[in-house]
Symmetry: C2
Subunit: 334 residues, 2 copies
């Protein structure tokens, strides 16, 4: 367990009988080094098990070749088998892989966590920052932008401080509600998402607008995108509006919770009550009955955010806003 003094450029240079500069050139793939010397250096590197010290390199190059993806939620929420964050992570991950950059995932749920993330990103530990969903008016994106650190959000930041990528919430919701209306549903309720998040706000607005246009009254209960909250909201709705015959839930997870409540209440789906979710996570095809839902291209959000960020970081032209399409996926629950 000897914390063996790790080899430095200097050590490799001595071993190979050359200068530090030459070793550095070889390590960084410069072609202006004689073949045989390259060979000798490479052998020395292998023998000593040399690995460049990233901090030292960063200090001089001003680059870290890694970018941060920040989840401003408690770890609990982020990964509570909601597939939205994971989907974004996938997309980001794929795109960064292609650019040979390291993904650094950071959770900023607590106040302390948020501080730590701020120190970390502002401390130039990453070349750019991606925000996966913002709660309320987080000042961090703006702060980063002012510090000259490229940043991109998913969903419009309330202060318009940085470019963002989002999906067409309104279009998706209105198609879902229109579908229920077309099917002759008369009492269409909704289980809305948290009202301090863009996704929660926009989906509720879409529901209200479409329903109002058709001359129907809104029946609203609010959840927080989790399954448990969906189950509770459904109980509330059944209580207040026993005659409802359809529900649009702002997330598949809440729809799943609602399904359970409806089963417990003896309501058949879709015969008595039609249910439509939002997201189209993998689980949606496995609920009983399989869930009709609004699909959003989650992974694509991650990819687009990353492309945008990389363009910003390399000084290429970039767009301020990217909006991706949504689509109604019809299964059996409605």
């Amino acid at each position: 367990m000897t914390t063996a003094q790790r080899p430095t450029l200097e050590a490799v240079a001595r071993r190979a009988g050359v200068s530090r500069a030459t070793v550095s050139r070889v390590v960084n793939g410069s072609t202006t080094v004689a073949e045989e010397i390259q060979e000798a250096v490479r052998r020395a590197v292998a023998e000593l098990g040399y690995v460049p010290n990233l901090a030292a390199r960063t200090l001089v190059t001003q680059r870290t070749d890694s970018i941060a993806l920040i989840m401003p939620e408690a770890a609990t929420r982020v990964f509570s088998d909601d597939q939205v964050f994971p989907g974004i992570i996938q997309g980001v991950s794929q795109e960064l892989e292609a650019a040979d950059k390291q993904l650094v995932l950071m959770l900023a749920g607590s106040a302390a966590g948020h501080d730590r993330v701020e120190r970390y990103t502002l401390g130039r530990h990453v070349d750019g920052v991606l925000f996966a969903s913002l709660h309320g008016a987080d000042p961090l994106p703006g702060t980063l932008a002012r510090a000259g650190i490229p940043a991109v959000c998913s969903g419009r930041p309330l202060d318009d401080s940085v470019p963002y990528v989002d999906v067409d919430h309104l279009g998706g919701v209105s198609r879902a509600v229109a579908y229920l209306l077309d099917a002759g549903r008369q009492r269409i309720a909704t289980i809305a998402g948290p009202q301090d998040m863009v996704a929660g706000i926009e989906r509720l607005a879409g529901y209200r607008d479409t329903l109002a246009a058709a001359g129907h009254p809104p029946l609203v209960a609010v959840g927080d995108f989790t399954r448990e909250s969906g189950a509770a909201a459904m109980r509330q709705l059944l209580d207040r509006h026993p005659d409802l015959d359809a529900v649009f839930a702002a997330s598949d997870l809440m729809a799943h919770g609602a399904l359970r409540t409806l089963r417990e209440a003896g309501r058949r789906v879709p015969d008595d009550v039609a249910v439509i979710g939002f997201d189209d996570i993998e689980m949606a095809a496995y609920t009983d009955p399989p869930l009709t839902t609004v699909r959003q291209p989650i992974k694509e959000i991650g990819r687009e955010m990353t492309r945008l960020l990389l363009r910003m970081a390399t000084g290429q032209p970039f767009e301020q806003t990217v909006i991706l399409p949504t689509e109604l996926v019809i299964r059996e629950s409605a």
Copy 2:
């Protein structure tokens, strides 16, 4: 959008009319600085928006105050609404929060990703490394250990290179199978996990042993812990052993897939076929019928791994192995 030259210690020092050393002392909370000077320095820091350059600090302190959690899976698998990884992340996150260390999550699914992670960790970009599940015989833990970088695995590494934390797979499985036997089930099948992962191997072993002890033959199909693979494995089992009356699935997700296949095949659960899963993820209470399963304290695994690592990193005594208990949670599927 001016990439404003960010202020350094030097700039703050000039502004406050003191030396760099003094500014450094104040920034790092040294008490040996006169109150009024501290005040002046703090003001200068605020005015300039100074944030320490982490690379520079790391270069001299040899610490990064961040630790890596490595997921050696494709992003796809890691977050495919399997709740195991998310649970570990939660536990790790909580424990690191308490230690005021930054969590750096890294995906090492592809070969390129694995390389990048190797460079990153070996490059001393983190103070320690946590491995969430290993596939086959990954040499990285051993390499890190040799380089003097603290590392901990979840599940025993095949080469015993580093300390690890795991749960009592065998005990949990044998309790589940014994429960089925006690209920009078005669033809008990299993949907095993991937056989290049400790969890997959041990759970299958537990099934075989317990069944053999009772004089029953093993009926095995292999999946990869995903829902889809569980559904497929169940079809295979029904095909080969139409008379089976119970199934133990090595993960809740596979159990969920099996449930779907059984429904499609017209088998009632638990009347015709009893089903038991493993994990007890949140979803288990929401399946139809709710899933009987072996609970493993997932979050606790993450916490224990982290505690172990932090002890290693600070030179405190630590144990080579930590085994956590499992428990049979009885619901309605068996």
